[in-house]
């Protein structure tokens, strides 16, 4: 297995201003990426972290097509999963805040 895709640091990028990541990346796909990347940034111009949420990040919306969306109530299991997801997300954001104060 090769190195992770985010095996890099941004300590030498002195003009870096903005970093964007998907919410699903920081929680599920590459947990720890935000902490890892943020801790390496030393750019004085760095001022913006954008975390992008998409519709599928919210489990209660099922997109059949862009024009047709189904909203429904959650079963207790789904509610539990949803709570776990949010818990992980807030955990990731807390970690981010520990690394860098915004």
């Amino acid at each position: 297995m090769g190195p992770p895709f985010w095996d890099f640091d941004l300590s030498r990028h002195k003009s870096l201003r903005t970093l964007e990541v998907l919410a699903s990346t920081i929680v599920f796909k590459e947990p720890g990426i935000l902490t890892h990347v943020l801790s390496s940034i030393t750019s004085p111009a760095f001022s913006e972290v954008v975390i992008i949420y998409r519709e599928y990040d919210f489990g209660f919306i099922h997109c059949v097509s862009p024009s047709m969306r189904i909203f429904h109530g959650m079963s207790p299991e789904e509610e539990e999963n949803e709570a776990l997801c949010r818990h992980l997300e807030f955990g990731a954001l807390r970690e981010m805040h520990k690394v860098r104060d915004f």
Binding site: G2, F5, W6, D7, F8, L10, R12, H13, K14, S15, L16, R17, T18, L19, E20, V21, L22, T25, I33, V37, A45, I52
Partner: protein, 248 residues
């Protein structure tokens, strides 16, 4: 002119173009700014390659096109973009696209156009500032050679759909002697998705004497460190995802 405010309202622009000559002159560049040609459009024959090119050429509209996207679908059986698509008079009409600034081509089979790439794409070279290649075919040297034809290129998108679509095949004889004719500025935005061909990135950086992108969208790229190190002085925005899924 107020017509410029209607740039996203095609119906109103159409209505304006029918009002009088001066309104037509103001509206028509916005109406024909973008041309998307589907090589396998199921709706109407008129929109399919090469009919749309012939139709627009007949009306003298091709020089108005600033943004061109040639769509292809391997799964639909239409295959790659090859010289066969430019038979008969199509190439002559295609060459009337002289003001394209943003060019997108799916499944471009570069080896089949070699060594006469300029014959097919020469009219794009002075004007194109943004190039998007989706799953291009060819060795990494051939892909870099194609990119190096565009002397004023600022933005580059290399979009692969899967790790399987990265397969390069056997490099042709003399591949290593291919040197891009120009060194494009490449100071705008780089978008790379699902790329495993590190040699492609290494050679691109080597042959172009470095890259100077200010913005990068990187998603599932092996060799991300290489790209980031190459833009240490210039990088301002880093997106660790594909900002624009369709690559438009």
């Amino acid at each position: 002119m107020i017509i410029t405010h209607l740039v996203y309202d095609k119906l109103s622009l159409c209505a304006c173009s029918l009002t009088c000559h001066s309104w037509y002159i103001a509206a028509v560049p916005h109406l024909h700014h973008t041309l998307v040609i589907d090589t396998d459009d199921p709706r109407k024959r008129r929109f399919r390659w090469p009919n749309l090119i012939w139709y627009k050429h007949m009306l003298g509209l091709l020089p108005l096109v600033k943004k061109l996207h040639i769509l292809a679908y391997i799964s639909h059986g239409t295959g790659e973009i090859t010289p066969k698509m430019f038979r008969c008079c199509t190439l002559g009409k295609f060459s009337a696209l002289t003001n394209v600034q943003e060019l997108g081509i799916d499944f471009l089979d570069i080896p089949k156009f070699m060594p006469r790439l300029r014959r097919y794409f020469g009219h794009f070279l002075p004007t194109v500032r943004s190039l998007a290649l989706r799953s291009p075919r060819g060795s990494h040297r051939q892909i870099i050679y194609f990119i190096g034809l565009f002397q004023h290129l600022q933005d580059l998108k290399l979009l692969f759909r899967s790790f399987g679509s990265n397969s390069e095949g056997e490099a042709p004889v003399g591949d290593l002697t291919l040197i891009p004719p120009f060194v494009p500025p490449l100071r705008g935005q780089l978008t790379v998705t699902v790329l495993t061909r590190v040699e492609l990135l290494e050679d691109m950086i080597g042959l172009f004497g470095g890259i100077r992108f200010r913005s990068m969208d990187l998603f599932c790229v092996v060799g991300m460190r290489l790209l980031l190190n190459a833009c240490v002085e210039t990088l301002e925005t880093l997106r660790l995802h594909q900002n624009d899924v369709r690559g438009e």
